[in-house]
Symmetry: C2
Subunit: 198 residues, 2 copies
DNA sequence: TCGCTTGTTGAACATTCGTATAACAAGTGG
DNA sequence: CCACTTGTTATACGAATGTTCAACAAGCGA
């Protein structure tokens, strides 16, 4: 009788993704302080050494997890925008509305953001990653705003404003869901769009 | 020759405050992950045991530090509002403008906020503290808005909106100061007030 | 079937963590 | 000047941290 394999090899990218997913789950369940190499390896059904093998350190894994989750969030927003049809204003409103509904606004995602933010000030490469992702997210919003007819000179500030408003509402929604509802957050953001677009 | 005292006794409240100040300094310098009992005790010129003696645990010290810093921030905003004179609109604008200048907006404060936020989801008492402080901060803004003539039914949402906008701008300002300037953040917030108050 | 590459393991490493606690001493009231 | 209270120290403890590395074996090509 042949013993079944003690472990299974995986494509590097597959394994990397499964570790990222495990990291995200641990962050969601245990919070930023519970995301240790061992806990993540256990969650991924893998030995602790693999984390170092693929990412070299826990910071890089957290950074990769943030990048991955950000892409998921970004995709979810894109889907919502696409589902809104062709009307520019409807697309913009779909964007902000989706920002306050799962899977974008979710307390479980908060720990990933917090773990990432806590690295921004001390690690220059992670600060650069944050700046890059922030710029990308703002640029996408600028496109939606431009399609609504907002003139180019006002685009930058408008995008900064809407991004900040949405982020602030999102953060508070994750931190204390009782303060106000996702629907109320959506209404507030849409009112801001009204004011901005006239 | 009499050896000088090996240590100095302090009033409980004095010592508590000095530990809170030491915690804030360590958070500012080392970030959330560097704020260990030992590092804080060393910073405060005190033995590690005292942290447990006064606060019972590191979480309670972080929570107390957050509360203390929040009061400082709140006081700084009050000073700015008072300095603006009697005109309600000027007072409101002073409030948002001060939110983007030191000592309120400062990368060094960010770590304190992050350390506190990371406790909100896992500890019920800290979630309650956050909800309480958020409500207080929103209530103060509601007063300023009411003085500008905003009718009562619109107060709640307006305060939520301005708080979220200011928090979002503040956060991004602390995370990546190159994205936009404090002056630009202030202009954005004042424009939002324009839109809100007509 | 054999050998080779390399993904993977699991233990060991030196630190560091938070907390508990016994001994010490500063300051106060007598 | 002497207790007595208690703020404070210093150490010790077990657990957990991130990282390293030699050994192992899975899967592929020959």
């Amino acid at each position: 009788m042949k013993a079944q394999p003690a472990f299974r090899r995986a494509e590097p990218d597959t394994r990397r993704l499964s570790l990222i997913a495990a990291c995200a789950r641990v962050l969601a369940r245990e919070g930023a302080s519970g995301a240790s190499v061992r806990a993540i390896a256990l969650e991924g059904g893998v030995s602790p050494g693999l984390v170092g093998h693929y990412f070299g350190g826990i910071d890089a894994l957290v950074s990769a997890t943030y990048a991955h989750v950000e892409v998921q969030v970004s995709d979810a927003l894109d889907v919502a925008v696409a589902a809104a049809g062709a009307d520019p204003r409807a697309r913009l409103e779909a964007f902000v509305t989706a920002s306050f509904a799962p899977p974008v606004a979710s307390g479980e995602l908060l720990a990933t953001w917090i773990a990432f933010w806590s690295l921004v000030r001390s690690r220059e490469d992670i600060a650069a990653q944050h700046a890059r992702q922030y710029a990308a997210s703002r640029a996408r919003l600028e496109v939606l705003l431009a399609e609504c007819g907002l003139p180019e000179p006002r685009l930058r500030r408008a995008a900064i404003a809407i991004t900040a408003l949405v982020d602030g509402l999102w953060l508070e929604l994750c931190l204390s869901p009782e303060a106000f509802s996702p629907a109320e957050a959506g209404a507030i953001a849409r009112a801001a769009l009204d004011a901005l677009l006239g």
